[in-house]
């Protein structure tokens, strides 16, 4: 009985320590997420302006650019998977990996080869453990991506895209990341990055907006040449930012759940420990009274 009481107290202590850690992680994640959202907001004007410019150019027609051309049939694809560097973020990384696996199956079913690019330690670990070839990996910035990271990744991807197929080039580039919908909901999504599908931003486009008839200097093609790499880098940056914010949000949720769970566990263990202590006392009393009664009986017999 005494040993079980000590065990219960020991367990309670260790759960209390764990709770302190998870609670701290929760608080850190929730303070970082505010920053992450701020950064994402700061990047919005650039994204909007760039998207606007690219759609203006795309609607200009008659502009052919290798980054815009659909190559049929696509024979080889690159897949960029954006995962977290660290765990303890619930199902964040495994959701992305699941979405990536789905895309992988879909692409291979279409008869394409898939070249894999990974960011984040978790994804790297997953693919390397399974001996799946990883073309290139980037780690160390999953929760606070900088524009320079996005630029580096975009450069590698564009270069790969512009290589001819025979030299190992790819016909399509897909990105698997996590979309930050709200603090409570993040969704792993796969999108095609190249050839470009010009997408509108989240902001509602003003209905019937007429794109002005631009004069392009030196020419539409030259402007597009300069613009598209920026656009690709920006898309990668957006995915990195969204994924970073999602990682923090899901870490916060996971750590909150862990803290709550630890609290419950502590309460249960405390109750059990109290019960055990009370039982011990009761037993002691009954032993003493029993002993005294036995003594009194034997004294009366003499």
């Amino acid at each position: 009985m005494a040993s079980s009481l000590r065990e219960l107290r020991q367990r309670r202590q260790s759960v209390t320590a764990t709770k302190k850690i998870t609670r701290a992680m929760e608080l850190i994640a929730s303070s970082q997420i505010v920053k992450a959202q701020q950064i994402a907001r700061n990047a919005m004007p650039y994204t909007t302006a760039l998207t606007h410019a690219v759609s203006a150019l795309a609607s200009h027609g008659e502009v052919a650019h290798p980054l815009l051309e659909d190559r049929v049939p696509a024979r080889r694809s690159a897949m960029l998977v954006v995962t977290g560097d660290r765990g303890l973020a619930g199902a964040y990384s495994s959701n992305v990996i699941k979405a990536a696996e789905q895309l992988y199956t879909k692409l291979t079913d279409e008869g394409q080869e898939v070249v894999q690019y990974i960011t984040g330690n978790k994804g790297v670990g997953y693919f390397e453990f399974r001996n799946r070839p990883v073309e290139q990996k980037w780690t160390g910035f999953s929760d606070k991506p900088q524009y320079s990271h996005a630029r580096e990744i975009a450069e590698v991807l564009i270069e790969k895209f512009l290589l001819p197929y025979e030299e190992g080039g790819v016909d399509q580039i897909h990105v698997v990341g996590t979309r930050f919908i709200s603090m409570l909901s993040q969704q792993a999504t796969a999108t095609r990055l190249l050839p470009l599908v010009v997408e509108e931003t989240d902001e509602p486009a003003t209905a019937g907006e007429i794109i002005p008839f631009y004069t392009f200097e030196p020419s539409a093609a030259a402007v597009l040449d300069q613009l598209l790499p920026l656009y690709v880098a920006n898309r990668v940056y957006t995915v990195l930012l969204q994924s970073g914010a999602s990682e923090l949000a899901s870490r916060q949720t996971a750590m909150k759940a862990a803290t709550d769970n630890a609290q419950q566990l502590i309460e249960r263990l405390t109750r059990e420990a109290n019960q055990a202590r009370q039982a011990e006392i009761t037993q002691e009393i009954s032993e003493i009274t029993g002993g005294a009664a036995a003594l009194a009986e034997s004294a009366g017999n003499e």
Binding site: Y46, P212, E217, P218
Partner: protein, 136 residues
Amino acid sequence: MDHEPLKVEVVAADRQVWAGDVVNIIARTTEGDVGVLPGHEPLMAALVPCVVEIVTADGRSETLAVDGGFISVAEGHVWILSQTAVMGQEVTIDKAERELAELRELQRTGDADEDQEHRIHILEAQIRAGERVRSA
């Protein structure tokens, strides 16, 4: 020629660098310097690393260093997009000059790669922007 001042936004990849009403902008495109006054026709032009000069509606002058990107003019709005854009007063000339000197050394010995050549242009633009603010 009575036009409203232009609404200008200068945005870098990770932030909005500057926004305001403007009566004159001078930037350098791949074809040469271009000045934009209110009422300009819609224009989209590729920029080279350069100093962008802005005269605001209240008569102040601002300088910015950009590393390429493009300028887009439409319906009284101007966007200047550049992956990195820095206000003249944000430039620390000493730091930029030190880095520039190192890169020049590389360039002289012929070891500079394309990125470093590009960086030299950016730094030169930054220093010019910074000096113009200093002397103003």
